[in-house]
Subunit: 165 residues, 4 copies
């Protein structure tokens, strides 16, 4: 794989932190750089933080910005971190607004990476980077070790798993 | 991906533990089941521990057994955990002894999964499961977020990174 | 130290977990047994979970129950886990309702133990068990590596530190 | 507690790291500062690294240096991190060479702090800081949540626990 990868960060549980003063979750900085170093990743990539939002609060204006950045990127292979609640919605938005010819794989986490030993985030990052390198152009969701075409998947909100539909 | 995955465990740093009595590293049980649960993995897979050895001590008899199990498995997609020191050697052994028609991806870790926050193992498991699902038949090494054809890679023993050759 | 220690659990951030379905914190089981095993603790102690509540929601009825249990315990040395927001209030309640002749040390955590590498809980448990063994009868708060007489301390709600007053 | 604490570091399992190139344990920097910050410790202390050695390799010249530093410190309350294999021997050395009038508490860990979730080090640091503040002058070992007079304890090398003798 000689192609450069573009990593776009939008927030989500993946990057949430615990505020010990308020007892609430919030966003500070992304953990992606730390995770890639810990993963000893030697891929050629560039990272850009587009926003740091809970995906339940992501607006269509936010999605328009993500779309714009995906189109503008010189890379044809894009990994997008995103809250799990609306990642499928964002995938649809990108597809319906004409994002074509690129491999875009969206992932997230059910438990914040900052919460240590119980988080699925590091595993999801590994699998998504791999899918990003080898899948043909298209828009995909990568969760639970699997990839799904964006229009054939849904989150089961009771179990937290992503399932084919 | 409807195909069943076969996961074979052979030991390596990936699964090493710290013995607090002797101060040495050793093998107890594999962490693969725990890791797959933490990764919330919903793939259809079966796991078998073939051996638990430091790959510097792996013999050709061990490799013959791995080969035999790869051939015997009903699965056409196989993930193999292995010590990083001789994973390339084992890949050559498998190729040179006629393993064909299956996607075999070998991975490991530079730091034991049991050592927590610094280990690359969980990331490597994620990326290797992904490569295993999508690469065409062949024998591959998966490390550092990348995959390599088995005969075009070597471990740099000074840095611990895997590089194309 | 030959005396048996009594450990009473009341909840607080110390024992909170992350619910990945709702994204909220909640209580499941206490982590105290795991922590004592990990700390390789060989003290003679008994543990009882009195309640699992956020200390902002603790009522005077709850405090009356804690008092009752402290008095009823056969142990003269008692460690109490408690949310940090009202641990000083509970200490006052115990003192003002006649708890005397026992060493009672109250501790908590600013970050849940379940959140791994960033939590202060394991450190606080260690220091509090130690204070509990050696301090004379009285009611104390143990946080930030220090102990305080219950009536000479307050939580600084802006920094999260406990300070003498 | 208004008195300043002196923390002396000598190495031991407490501060060992994993070298992923050689697969051996080694010393880099102490983790004590990180641990005190994570423990949100507000005690008045000063830290000095005297050496970073495996206690099986500690010589009497090393012990003479530790003694000298304990005497020279302006603090009357001293915490010493040390490998568990010879911490009792060092305690005897300090006592037999005239260290008097100070509270010296020696602790260590069975599992390196750097190995994350399984280490007892953070707990031991908490309990030892507490003992250090409240015990009368003397030389003590602090392990397993307990403190022992230095001449009434031994390490059970089969279980790794410290027991009264």
């Amino acid at each position: 794989m000689k192609e450069k990868l573009q990593l776009f960060i939008t927030g989500g549980t993946f990057d949430k932190e615990y505020n010990y003063i308020t007892g609430k979750l919030y966003f500070k900085n992304t953990h992606l750089d730390d995770m890639l170093e810990r993963g000893r990743c030697t891929l050629d990539y560039q990272i850009k933080t587009l926003m740091m939002v809970d995906s339940l609060e992501m607006t269509d204006k936010d999605r328009a910005y993500i779309l714009e950045e995906c189109i503008a990127s010189s890379a044809n292979r894009i990994l997008l971190t995103h809250g799990t609640d609306t990642m499928v919605k964002t995938a649809h938005y990108l597809a319906e607004h004409g994002l074509e010819g690129k491999t875009v794989v969206i992932t997230g986490a059910m438990i914040p990476y900052a919460f240590g030993g119980s988080s699925d985030g590091f595993f999801n990052l590994g699998s998504t980077l791999a899918f990003c390198q080898v899948l043909p152009p298209g828009i995909y969701i990568s969760m639970n070790g699997k990839y799904f075409d964006y229009d054939k998947v849904e989150k089961n909100y009771e179990t937290g798993y992503f399932v084919s539909k």
